[in-house]
């Protein structure tokens, strides 16, 4: 097993506690010890599913990194601390990581309240907080130790708008969005772009993450008489909306944000998601070599399971971390500086990723226009549905 597992880690940290002062920092830095990353994310609580997906992506990336010789000969490992996406716990985890000399950088957290509450601690403690799902526009403004590979919604939403308005020819849109910081920001960028392309926004409806019943919302949508529905949703709520839209007799074209890109979307939505259009960062038949390697590797490691967007984010994040460590070594400040130096890292989401030093984000995500055909994601062939 290439990634050190929990038990080894526990035993290791227990040993460290027992040995106490006997362990000097130099001893820990010996090349036989793996380089340790801290991950703060949800393993229990309402967002636990995303933490589980992160792990899959991390573990696959680590296998590949180790097969390629590790980080300058050393192994890489991560210590995953469960925050339940709760800011109270993520700040404690932040202090834990900051005061643990073995941790060279941190990845996560998942939700904005949990991530951004911890940012001041990472910033003051001088530990990089690498948030790879943090799309909140203010996340990287927390300080120069905050870096993010999350796809900027300022980039993604105009692409989706172009797909819906220019390519599919939709002129009057109903936008349904998760009423979170992500959904709200995305909606604003989408509406702005769609209007620029000449579409009219008939109605926008924000719903809370726990919502299950959308029938009444869909009556509002119907009464606004749009010719297309835009879903700024995750896969589980996106599937629910699509199902209920078809049940209440809405036959309009549905176009969804890339976050629904998951085999679960097909499983949960069933026939109702047939002909749903979506923009994505990669797709199964993508000819790019990094995508082929990712999908083949993922299926081989996880019994034929198809990877989804969150798997890809975490896989990319671990590869990016490895690339940064190769330049920056194990010094925390040098690692921060290495983020600005790292160039053209192979990435499923971006093709090749280079940070914009000003915003501490990566620009120019890949884009593919997909449609669900016969219960599978397929590249859109240009035919209207």
């Amino acid at each position: 097993m290439s990634n050190i597992d929990r038990r080894t880690l526990v035993r290791g940290s227990l040993a460290a506690v027992v040995a106490g002062a006997a362990f000097s920092r130099a001893a820990l830095a010996q090349s036989s010890e793996p380089i340790l990353l801290g991950v703060s994310g949800p393993l229990t609580g309402p967002n636990a599913q995303y933490g589980a997906q992160w792990k899959q992506g991390f573990d696959l990336a680590l296998d590949e990194i180790h097969a390629a010789g590790g980080i300058n000969g050393r192994k890489l490992a991560y210590q995953f601390e469960d925050s339940q996406s709760d800011p109270r716990q993520s700040v404690a985890i932040a202090q834990k990581f900051v005061s643990d000399p073995r941790i060279v950088m941190e990845l996560g957290d998942f939700s904005s309240p949990a991530s951004m509450a911890a940012s001041p601690i990472y910033q003051r403690g001088g530990l990089v907080q690498f948030g790879f799902t943090n799309s909140h526009p203010d996340f990287t403004k927390g300080g120069d130790f905050m870096w993010s590979t999350s796809v900027s919604q300022a980039d993604e939403q105009p692409l989706l708008a172009a797909y819906a308005v220019k390519r599919l020819g939709l002129k009057k849109l109903a936008v349904l969005h998760l009423n979170t910081d992500w959904g709200r920001t995305s909606r604003d960028y989408f509406v702005k772009a769609a209007k620029e392309y000449g579409a009219e926004i008939a109605v926008t409806e924000g719903y809370i993450a726990e919502e299950r019943d959308f029938r009444s919302t869909l009556v509002r949508v119907r009464d606004a008489n749009p010719d297309g529905l835009i879903l700024i949703s995750y896969y589980s709520d996106g599937a629910l909306i699509a199902r209920q839209a078809r049940q209440v007799g809405l036959k309009q074209t549905i176009c969804a944000a890339s976050s629904v890109y998951s085999p679960k979307f097909l499983e949960l939505g069933g026939e109702a998601v047939e002909d749903v259009h979506l923009g994505t960062r990669y797709f199964p038949e993508d000819p790019r070599s990094e995508v082929k390697k990712f999908i083949a590797g993922f299926k081989a490691k996880y019994n034929g399971q198809e990877p989804d967007a969150f798997n890809a984010y975490s896989y990319d994040a671990m590869n990016m971390a490895a690339a940064v460590l190769k330049i920056g070594g194990t010094d925390r400040r040098a690692i921060r500086d290495a983020f600005a130096k790292v160039k053209d890292v192979s990435s499923v989401i971006f093709g090749s990723a280079t940070f914009d030093v000003e915003s501490r984000r990566v620009k120019g995500a890949m884009n593919a226009e997909l449609v669900v055909r016969k219960g599978q994601f397929a590249l859109w062939d240009g035919k209207p549905t």
Binding site: E205, F214, S216
Partner: protein, 607 residues
């Protein structure tokens, strides 16, 4: 016009779904006067058993229903036998906490067994749709309605005409008298839990099929909506629960129609508050029904508190005060900072819930009000942070008391439900009042804590600051409890009629308690806002309210030292269990259950 027909139909359809949970809750409340927070977890278990049956074993629908009902009933019986029966003779509030602990354990077990990923639960009914209004309904809608209504009717007939049903009703009216008449109360309780659990399990499965989706987060939402529907209908009234559910569905649907989707739950909870204010026992409670709680203070039973000598407290306080001078890790300090912040919240809740007897389940709202006030004061008006935090406390005291005042005329469980609703309303107002609160985007860049122009950013300084604030609040509260005010509070808690007869104005004293408590909670929220630098409507959620109540019950209701000890324990335990990774919340739930089982009056006892 046709749209209104559609909104009505949709409201009834979703009300139908709520009814399935509400009926089970009503049945249990009717007999044991207990709001069973584990009902949502049984619903979750039912959904996953259904998944195993349908997807793995390919059972036909009738067999699936039988399997799910039987398994869920067994779970219900286990809960009754090992979780609740041992608590029969202890404080009334102990079983409530036990059901919260049980729901942690069940939810975690399901999550560990099936992974947190959502799953599809395909419907086994033919896929035909009937046109109704502008939309369609399917056979599952009819089946859900059938199960809901027929189970309500069956239960009604069972309670009215069968011998066991009489026993159930007798036990619910007067347990001791029923026992003297030879009713085996334990058997009655068993029957009720078994039936309610079977119903809960089947409803989880049906709802899962309805949405073709099950996941481990569905349990809390189901409980919340079920409780609202049940209380609207009149707690303990089975047919009332069905009507309450339909009404809730309709109000939500019309709310969406008029104001938009993001106001949906706001209407659900407003409906609840309005119904409770106008008809404190719910819409369909008969006038002859016995009062929902005994008039004298058995809801919160007095116990002999553990007396801790002052010098021990002083030494402990001094010990914690000098802690940062020793080489302890910042992680330990940060964990203790969290404990002190939770401690302030617990002080507030132990005063209103323990001393005053108003068990609030919406206390996180006070945190949120304090946090937003302090953040906005310092960001938009450039008020110095120290003053802004105090401002947060004051606004939280004023606004919190005002918001909670409609619940002053309620008693026992109804106070908890009303405050739960008020808490949700505050969170939804924060989400929707974008011009002030910035809605879901939240407030970022909140300046760090500072005092007299000095920034408090090092962990030690934040630690000392929060410890000092908490100690001052605790000393003030200790003084308050020994004054005539404290005695009046306890008099009202123990017997409000006697207290009134002595000339105490109930509303005035309840307001005083909430003003003091609101200030402490608001200050805690304010400090948290400056510590986190970013807050949004999700930062202070229902889980925090439940956590605070757990702390207070664990420490001993009304017990100032207990609140602090409880905070340290409940912040510390999940951190200590980190080593267990995914299992830590499960272990936490089990520890909680054991504590309730063996110290139902709390670690340090009720004062």
């Amino acid at each position: 016009m046709s749209s209104w027909l559609d909104y009505t139909i949709n409201g009834l359809i979703v009300g139908n779904v709520y009814a399935l949970v509400a009926v089970g809750l009503a049945l249990i409340f009717g007999v044991s006067r207990l709001i069973n927070f584990a009902q949502g977890s049984i619903y979750l278990v039912g959904a996953y058993i259904g998944w195993v049956a349908v997807v793995q074993l390919h059972t036909p629908l009738p067999l699936t229903i039988i399997v799910v009902a039987a398994t869920a009933a067994v779970v219900g019986l286990i809960i009754e036998r090992f979780g609740l029966r041992p608590l029969q003779n202890s404080v009334r509030i102990a079983p409530l906490l036990a059901t919260i602990g049980i729901s942690f354990v069940l939810d975690q077990l399901v999550m560990l067994t099936f992974s947190p990923n959502p799953r599809a639960l395909p419907s086994q009914l033919p896929d035909v749709r009937f046109q109704l209004g502008g939309g369609t309904i399917g056979p599952l809608d009819l089946l859900i309605a059938g199960v809901g209504i027929s189970s309500a009717l069956l239960l009604f007939v069972f309670l009215r005409y069968s011998k066991l049903g009489w026993a159930v009703r007798a036990a619910s009216q007067d347990r001791d008298a029923a026992m003297q008449m030879g009713v085996d109360v334990n058997r009655v309780n068993q029957a009720v839990f078994g039936i309610a659990a079977a119903l809960g399990g089947v409803s989880g499965m049906l709802v899962g099929m309805y949405y073709n989706q099950i996941d481990t987060a569905m349990s809390l939402q189901a409980t919340l909506k079920g409780v609202v529907a049940e209380v609207v209908g009149g707690a303990g009234n089975v047919p009332g629960a069905v009507i309450g559910s339909l009404l809730l569905g309709l109000v939500e649907s019309y709310g969406v129609a008029v104001f938009g989707t993001s106001y949906r739950n706001l209407f659900a909870f407003l409906l609840l508050v309005v119904v409770l204010v106008l008809r404190p026992n719910g819409l369909f409670a008969s006038a002859r029904q016995a009062p929902p709680e005994p008039l004298t203070g058995t809801f919160i039973a007095p116990s002999r508190p553990v007396r801790i000598p002052r010098w021990v407290l002083a030494v402990a306080a001094a010990g914690f005060a000098v802690l940062p001078l020793f080489p302890v890790s910042f992680y330990v300090l940060q964990t203790l900072i969290n404990a002190w912040l939770l401690g302030m919240l617990a002080l507030s809740l132990t005063l209103v819930a323990g001393t005053m007897g108003q068990v609030s389940l919406g206390h996180a709202a006070l945190l949120a009000i304090g946090a937003y006030t302090s953040a906005l004061l310092s960001l938009t008006l450039n008020v110095p942070v120290g003053l802004a935090v105090i401002g947060g406390g004051l606004v939280s005291a004023a606004l919190g008391t005002l918001l909670i005042s409609p619940s002053f005329r309620l008693r026992g469980h109804y106070v908890s439900i009303a405050t739960l609703a008020i808490g949700e309303i505050v969170s939804l107002v924060i989400l929707n009042w974008e011009s002030v609160t910035r809605g879901p985007i939240g407030i970022s860049g909140i300046p760090p804590l500072s005092l007299f122009g000095y920034d408090l950013i090092s962990p030690s300084s934040v630690y000392w600051f929060s410890l000092a604030v908490m100690v001052v609040l605790a000393l003030l509260q200790g003084r308050l409890l020994t004054s005539h005010l404290g005695r009046s509070f306890r008099a009202i808690r123990d017997d409000d009629i006697a207290a009134r007869a002595y000339g105490l104005s109930l509303n005035r004293y309840k307001s005083l308690a909430f003003i003091f408590g609101g200030f402490a909670a608001g200050v805690s929220g304010g400090i948290a806002a400056h510590l986190y630098s970013y807050i949004n409507h999700e930062t202070f959620n229902t889980q925090q309210s439940i956590l605070a109540l757990t702390v207070v019950i664990l420490g001993g209701l009304g017990n100032v030292v207990g609140a602090i000890v409880g905070s340290v324990a409940l912040v510390g335990l999940p951190e200590v269990f980190r080593i267990a990774a995914e299992y830590r919340i499960l272990i936490y739930g089990i520890v909680l259950l054991l504590l309730v089982r063996f110290r139902p009056q709390g670690l340090l006892g009720t004062i």
